[in-house]
């Protein structure tokens, strides 16, 4: 232990002892009294010295008290602190995990993990020395700095009070990148990360400072919903619910299923620690509805936010496709598929729709082509890639393709031949396509054959060769490819499977372009979002579990929900080591030792000595 001072220059105040002592003896003009003899008094004094070893001090007790008062005040001015031996950081960023798992209680009616972390931070703030600066950074799905580096305890305390649990997973890397950016401005040597351990175990960062990971005690038993999705069944939705028990303990609970406000059924579950269980029930699909799954724990459940989940079910309808009439092979491959409506119907005089399709398969490029969430363009080069690739008339074979791509799953392209050979321009590499947001799904010898672009919620597949000039329609893989394309479109249209929405960011949706919408969150907060020219309404923050309402003016446009936490959050699992790019950080449950300032203690002691001196000076004679 060391006992240093923040302001050792204040030691010069010790010179005040000189005038203090001089003034004491100058003012000490004792009243004189003549007595017959000093004989008795001398014996009394001798006796007192023998009986009271501190008589020498008591004789000048007032002076001693004054010296103690001044000494304490000088020490307080020197701002001593009780050193813990640990290196003292001048700039200390404190990262506070406020993800969903930090809302877990330790016991019935106990405190949340975030409250425990805030208590630790409050101790650090209370013990801040005058030359120490702290910045508070919250860690949830992103990192956000609450305060600049400051030693203003009131400011830090107020900021600390504002921190609340977000129903989102923690992403430490964002907060660390933020801290890394701060390190360019401030000489940060160490950062403190307060968490319950429910964080990613790896962070792909190289940090210029040390990270001390301090664990708050873990939460108690928990059971919660980690997945909720529905798959298209025969005129019904099959709804799947996944429940998981926490790492520490699970529990028994009753699970209730509602469609809108109608109770569909309930089930009893009993989960051991780390155990999961999947429940299935059916919901009608004749109209759009909302599924609510509610978990009613029978015993203590540390996390309440994962006990309810919502799912928006659309009405079941056929997938609406636009297929160019000239693409007969596609039309033929689509015929046996159920739930698919292929337009335009040959011979029909209905006008061609511009929008409203779920899938467009075309061989044309331009504004006249209908728009859809999923499209496949055959025999064309994307306009923005016209400088990168050109089509040569030559026979070519597929060299390689991505077998795990949703489009090419179970599709064999090995013996397919094409008479159109896409050739990349000189010095053009795959990276150049990727820079244009295109992914190459199939390669020819000198260029890409199939490209995929996923941008703004729309998926576009480009066959750079025309199927009519290849052997693909005659291969068994072609109907599989078409089926895969339909499945992708169904997924995109929400007709094949509907997944419960996790918290964080609401999925983008299409709305009126250049329009401002108001999103009302479950806790009543309102955020304004303006769509672009493409009408995409995205980037809506959803940090709370519950129902969100999207309004245009005062009218409600639509309602949606975000309810699912990540399974890691529900399981309350914790890591004891975070692996960084070069080093690993071990967690510790012991509280980080911080230097304790002692000036208040010395100031209080000085005041007490002053009061004692006053009492001693004023006390009635003969009181002892």
């Amino acid at each position: 232990m060391i006992w240093p001072f923040v302001a050792p220059a204040a030691a010069w105040l010790a010179l005040l002892f000189i005038p203090l002592i001089m003034l004491y003896f100058l003012k000490l003009k004792r009243p004189v009294q003549a007595i017959p003899s000093l004989a008795l008094w001398r014996q009394v004094m001798n006796d007192q010295r023998v009986n009271s070893p501190f008589q020498r001090f008591k004789r000048n007790l007032l002076l001693l008290l004054q010296i103690l008062v001044l000494g304490c005040l000088i020490l307080a001015a020197m701002q001593p602190y009780w050193g813990t031996g640990a290196s003292r950081a001048k700039y200390l960023p404190i990262l506070i995990d406020c993800s969903a798992s930090m809302g877990a209680l330790d016991k019935q009616g106990g405190t949340t993990r975030l409250d425990a972390a805030k208590a630790e931070v409050r101790k650090i703030i209370d013990n801040l020395l005058s030359d120490q600066l702290v910045s508070l950074i919250i860690v949830n799905s992103t990192g956000r700095r609450l305060t600049d580096f400051t030693n203003n305890k009131k400011l830090l305390s107020n900021a600390l009070d504002l921190i609340a649990v977000s129903d989102v997973p923690s992403r430490l890397d964002d907060a660390l990148r933020l801290t890394q950016a701060l390190a360019r401005t401030y000489p940060i040597e160490r950062a403190l990360f307060l968490t319950d351990g429910n964080t990613p175990s790896t962070v792909d960062l190289e940090l210029p400072f040390q990270v001390t990971m301090q664990l708050v005690p873990a939460g108690g038993a928990n059971i919660g919903i980690t997945e909720l999705n529905a798959r298209r069944g025969t005129e019904r939705w099959d709804v799947f619910v996944r429940l998981e028990g926490a790492q520490i303990g699970g529990g028994a609970a009753k699970v209730e299923f509602y469609q809108d406000k109608e109770l569909l059924g309930s089930e009893q579950v009993n989960l051991d620690p780390k155990e999961s269980q999947r429940l299935v029930f059916r919901a009608s699909a004749d109209k759009p509805s909302q599924i609510t799954v509610r978990v009613l724990p029978e015993r203590f459940d540390s996390l309440a936010s994962d006990n309810i989940a919502y799912l928006e079910l659309p009405i079941l309808r056929p997938l609406r496709l636009y297929v160019d009439p000239d693409l007969a092979a596609f039309r033929k491959a689509l015929q046996p598929l159920k739930g698919v409506e292929v337009l335009p119907i040959p011979g029909s005089t209905k006008p061609k729709l511009v929008n409203g399709y779920d899938l467009v398969i075309t061989e044309d490029v331009g504004e006249t082509v209908p728009q859809a969430a999923v499209s496949m363009t055959v025999g064309q080069i994307p306009p923005e890639l016209s400088k990168l690739v050109k089509i040569e008339t030559d026979f070519v074979k597929v060299v390689d393709w991505q077998r795990n791509s949703p489009l090419l799953r179970h599709v064999q392209l090995g013996d397919v031949q094409m008479s159109e050979n896409p050739v990349s321009a000189t010095n053009v590499e795959d990276r150049d396509y990727e820079q244009q947001a295109y992914e190459i799904l199939a390669h020819a010898a000198r260029g890409p054959l199939i490209l995929h672009k996923d941008r703004d919620g729309k998926q576009a597949f480009w066959l750079l060769f025309h199927t009519n000039r290849s052997t693909l329609p005659y291969r068994v893989g072609f109907p599989i490819l078409v089926s895969n394309l339909v499945q992708i479109a169904m997924q995109q249209a929400g007709l094949a499977e509907v997944r419960g929405q996790s918290t964080g960011v609401l999925p983008p949706r299409t709305a009126d372009p250049s329009t401002t919408y108001t999103v009302v969150s479950p806790d009543g907060l309102r955020q304004e979002v303006t769509t672009g020219n493409d009408g995409q309404l995205g980037g809506i923050s959803a940090p709370r579990i519950g129902k969100y309402e999207i309004q245009r003016g005062l009218a409600t446009v639509t309602r949606t929900s975000a309810s699912l936490l990540q399974a890691d959050e529900t399981s309350l699992q914790f890591v004891d080591t975070i692996q960084f790019r070069e080093i690993s950080i071990a967690a510790s449950e012991t509280r980080q030792a911080t230097d304790k300032p002692l000036w208040t203690e010395f100031a209080i002691a000085g005041m007490l000595f002053l009061a004692l001196e006053w009492w001693y000076f004023q006390r009635r004679p003969g009181g002892w």
């Binding site: 004189v32 007595i35 000093l38 008795l40 008094w41 009394v44 004789r59 004679p621």
Partner: protein
């Protein structure tokens, strides 16, 4: 001076006190007398007219001392013994140093000395008075005198004693014993506030055949001092100073010390067949003489 004072025999006492004192005698514990005749009755047989005892006749005894009445009844000769009345020295040693000038201590000492002197003279003792003032100087002396005729002389001497000086008690005793001869009683009238050891002085008095009657005269301020806070005390005799802080805390120790001194002086005097008595200047003289002294057996 009022007219009533002119009728007083001495300024030390009222006449009523004098008349009461004339009927009292000093009562020493031992018979320390001189061979010269006096009215002080000794334990051994003498030639006075006061019968003391009988003893068997032995050859050689003066037959005139045979009690013939007894012989006629018992047919055996018995010698009749009489009390021997001898003179006793009464030495009055007055500590007249500066410390005795406080709060009437010296006046009380002179009154007590006058009373003892009166009783001595009335009992035909040889009374001498020593008043000690300054260290190194001979004490003021009233040579031994006896008889009622010396009464006025004694009172005049006492009335003339002025206080002042720095003689400690032990030095005063040494000075007295340099001039005094004869056994008897010494009455020490002092405050016994000395830094030195009084035991050698008491030993000297005892060796000189003087029975010690020590009277410690203390003022009220010495018995119950009222000193508070930080104060500087000055010794009236030596001028030495002593700084005291928190005097209130010292009262308990002071009282303990005072009690211990009384016990110690009493023991010192009793070891030498003497007596010790502490009196306060606040106590009336009548009470000291006719109550305390009589109850303690100092006078009879």
């Amino acid at each position: 001076m009022s007219s009533s004072n002119t009728t007083r025999f001495t300024t030390l006492f009222d006449n009523s006190v004098l008349s009461r004192l004339e009927r009292l005698r000093l009562n020493p514990l031992r018979r320390l007398t001189v061979r010269s005749r006096g009215e002080h009755q000794t334990g051994k047989g003498g030639t006075s007219t006061e019968f003391s005892d009988y003893r068997d006749y032995v050859p050689g005894d003066d037959v005139k001392n045979v009690d013939w009445n007894i012989f006629s009844r018992l047919n055996r000769p018995y010698i009749k013994l009489y009390r021997h009345e001898e003179e006793m020295n009464v030495v009055l040693l007055i500590d007249a140093s500066t410390s005795m000038q406080f709060e009437g201590k010296l006046d009380l000492a002179k009154q007590l000395a006058g009373a003892c002197g009166l009783m001595g003279l009335m009992n035909s003792e040889r009374v001498s008075i020593y008043a000690c003032h300054h260290l190194g100087k001979s004490p003021e002396l009233l040579p031994p005198c006896s008889g009622r005729v010396s009464l006025r002389r004694i009172f005049k001497f006492l009335e003339g004693i002025q206080g002042g000086g720095d003689t400690p008690l032990e030095a005063a005793v040494d000075a007295v014993l340099r001039t005094h001869r004869g056994r008897g009683v010494v009455v020490l009238l002092s405050d016994f506030l000395t830094l030195g050891d009084v035991n050698p002085a008491l030993n000297s008095l005892f060796s000189a055949g003087l029975e010690i009657h020590a009277v410690q005269i203390l003022s009220e301020s010495e018995l119950h001092p009222e000193i508070t806070g930080d104060i500087r005390l000055i010794d009236s005799e030596t001028g030495d100073t002593l700084d005291i802080s928190g005097a209130a805390e010292l009262f308990g120790i002071y009282q303990d010390q005072l009690a211990w001194q009384e016990i110690q002086l009493t023991a010192d005097c009793q070891k030498r067949s003497g007596r010790f008595l502490r009196v306060s200047t606040n106590t009336p003289l009548d009470s000291i003489l006719f109550d305390t002294f009589r109850r303690k057996g100092w006078i009879r």
